[in-house]
Symmetry: C2
Subunit: 240 residues, 2 copies
């Protein structure tokens, strides 16, 4: 945790917050803070700054906080991803928040197992838990937006063309396509299929919506590795 | 599993292999093969090709195999990594094998917890289990070499200069350094520190050994995300 993220619910006075639960445990057991210590803090959806530990009990810590700096810039990237299995989704959500992705669309596809849509992970509070872990790592306060689209065709025909408008949009698919060129200069849309890939019909609908088909290199990567390579490369190149 | 990898121990006749255990379970339960089916096979350390399922019992499957194609090219990349905690190390090993890293050096550093060196994961058979998962995904047959260096100073002073000779060598460290530029054109050495980063003295020794200090962007990434971003970007750019 490189940033202690607080919300309105934690505020217990003017410029003062009270932290309990998981974050309190982390402060005490991992960071081993003492009264007087300073740590980096940020308000969820707001500014970053510093906090001074003023009071510690068995159950909570109270900090005086001052927040004035904006969080780091987001990647101008929209990730469209065929819903992966829950274990992998957790790691991908955390990594995307860490890399600074601003918008994530989880979509259906022929090879997405129906049961994946039943995971409790897709409830908003559960999604936020994993996104928050990424924000805490990267000292960011802005949650990426996550939308779910359980039907591929309406998404690809109605929404995807709008998402792609005026952006550099690509669909990653194994095959003899131009190699994907990561950049974080311009707004972009990156569409990545499920384990086993999109079926040809799905690739065609993405192309019709304005996506160029690109290759992610000569190796067939796991979805998680493909996302990390493509988005991570953008995160490295992002200007301060 | 995109490639069934076999070894000499699996050979049961001329151009014939017998597969049991984990790989047999995967063939039956995940790929659901039947007699007559063809799958991609590769000999560990050798060539790739195809195999035909000829016989299935309760415990094993026998395949007729023909291997003639070389595995995909490796990245000309040496990864030097401060030993991460075991859970993360497993995922990093798998991802590195998947991306095609050829050499991995796991090193000590001031902020590496001593207990990490005690993990049974560092035994050769255990390391190979996770590397093999990466090779099976990426249809590769060549295991990356993994070396362990429990003392930082002798590694950085005696071995690192030799590793860096004639290569583009960088040490990734948060700070006001030039941004890392991924390429897979030239042999390179990438040095990545532990959670919490290298201490200044360690960065200096890496620089003295011939590494340029570079930044991996404005966000502080988990080690796993940093490795995936830097190496994954190279894997995307690798020529077929």
């Amino acid at each position: 945790m490189n940033l202690l993220i607080f919300t309105e619910q934690d505020v217990c006075g003017e410029h003062r917050i009270r932290i309990s639960g998981r974050r309190f445990d982390h402060l005490m057991k991992t960071l081993r803070v003492k009264v007087g210590d300073q740590i980096r803090v940020g308000e969820l959806g707001g500014l970053c700054g510093s906090g001074t530990i003023e009071h510690i009990t068995q159950d909570y810590a109270e900090l005086a906080v001052s927040v004035q700096q904006p969080p780091p810039p987001k990647l101008p990237t929209t990730l469209v991803l065929a819903l992966p299995r829950p274990k992998m989704l957790r790691r991908i959500l955390r990594a995307c928040a860490e890399y600074g992705v601003s918008d994530i669309h989880l979509i259906n596809s022929y090879k997405v197992e129906k049961s994946f849509w039943q995971t409790p992970l897709l409830n908003q509070p559960s999604l936020e838990t994993y996104l928050l872990q990424g924000l805490e790592q990267a000292s960011d306060t802005l949650l990426p937006s996550v939308s779910l689209h359980q039907r591929f065709k309406p998404f690809a025909e109605d929404l995807l063309p709008t998402l792609c408008e005026g952006k550099s949009a690509v669909v990653a698919h194994p095959g003899d396509y131009p190699v994907y060129a990561p950049t974080s200069e311009n707004p972009s849309v990156l569409v990545i299929g499920p384990e086993g890939g999109f079926i040809p019909y799905e690739v065609e609908l993405c192309q019709a919506a304005g996506c160029e088909a690109v290759s992610l290199g000569p190796r067939v990567l796991r979805v998680e590795s493909a996302v990390a390579a493509a988005i991570g490369a953008q995160a490295i190149l992002l200007k301060r």
